[in-house]
Amino acid sequence: MAGELVLLDFWPSLFGMRVRIALAEKGVKYESKEEDLSNKSPLLLEMNPIIKQIPVLIHNGKPVCESLIIVQYIDEVWNDKSPLLPSDPYQRAQARFWADFVDKKVYVASRKVWRPKREEQEEGKKEFLETLKTMEAELGDKPYFGGETFGYVDLAFIPFYSWFPSYKVLDNINIEAECPKIFAWAKRCMQKEAVAKTFHDEKKVYEFVAKTRKKYVSA
């Protein structure tokens, strides 16, 4: 079941973080290989020739690609502890739907915050906040999206929290004020060791985000 595990990753990647959290939850040991995305390694191009992106989980030499697919794979292989997805098919469908919403709507909207012109940025901010409010409505009064315990949707969404401080300073988006339940939920998730140890130093993340943002925003 264990075998050789290698994770091709990039330290600030929201998607890589999902896989790291899943592996930590399962207590599984693995080797991490940091990729330079401006100079992708032959291994990455061999293991993910189609999308050419990280994260890639290589298990006994065989690659698994796409973060949520990797997380489901981890859950199915190491199925003896810390289940990430619920066991009930309807709840599993709900979990898959909301994780997909994070990718299709929250992530896509977050990219629209960084656009060349001021009006476009404002539009992007509005859309991004709307997606966060939709997540907040879905969370309701539950401690986690999964209910009483941390699960698949929490794992899919929590990496975004690493960018919240940067959004506040650079884009004037105060998520703590706009979505207090989401903020409280994030703080609750950060109490988990598996989550907290995935997060890097806030200043290091801020510098990375600021640098990335400059590529898109001229104003």
């Binding site: 189609i50 999308i51 298990h59 065989k62 698994v64 690609c65 796409e66 697919i69 990797i70 489901q72 794979y73 199915e76 292989v77 098919p89 309807y90 599993r92 469908a93 898959r96 739907f97 997909d100 919403f101 939709t134």
Partner: protein, 237 residues
Amino acid sequence: MASSATVTANQLIIMAELKLFRTWSSPFPLRVVWALDFKGIQYDTIFEDLSNKSSLLLQYNPIYKKVPVLVHNGKPLLESLVILEYIDETWKQTPLLPEDPYERATARFWAKFGDDKVLPSIWNVFIKQGKDQEEAIVTAQENLGFVERQLTGKKFFNGETIGFVDLAFGWLAKLLSLWEEVCGVTLIDHEKFPLLSEWIQNFADAPIIKESWPPRDKLITKYQALLEVYTSKEAPK
């Protein structure tokens, strides 16, 4: 005509256990039709007019307001690939996904690649013109090349029988040739894509699949009209 059908549907809804909201032409609900039919599961169908969505659809899918929606014992399921996994987990006969976790991950990857990359790249060929269309053709054929290689040594993506990835790519088996005809571009020819060409034939002619296609002439009319909208947007002023 739409409103009387809705009234009947509302009466049925209270009684029936499994209801599928779809349109006459959309390929995504067709995936759900195929999955349910393959497993021999009974269900009621509600046809939606997306220009005049029923209050039930909006109630069940307030976020995307789209089809398909599968309602099972009053609880809605959304997003066709999510629905397919739910169907496979709830009704175990004629499994769609393999049992081995690595093969399942591979199947999920290809279904996602189909929706995220292949379909949009082919759609781009359909709606664009001139140099934009030429570039779109290159991307689409590159994507199709990856898909072609996945069929090496197999009749279907799932092997000897139709499975999850075949249903995910099902739209390709009928809509591609249709779009090629309407916009006058050939993307898949038998020489460059022999395996995909054969898969298209095998899938389109398979039992259950064969009977499920919307009427071709109606589809041609629909896509011709859609193309006209896109062409008029792009036309020089």
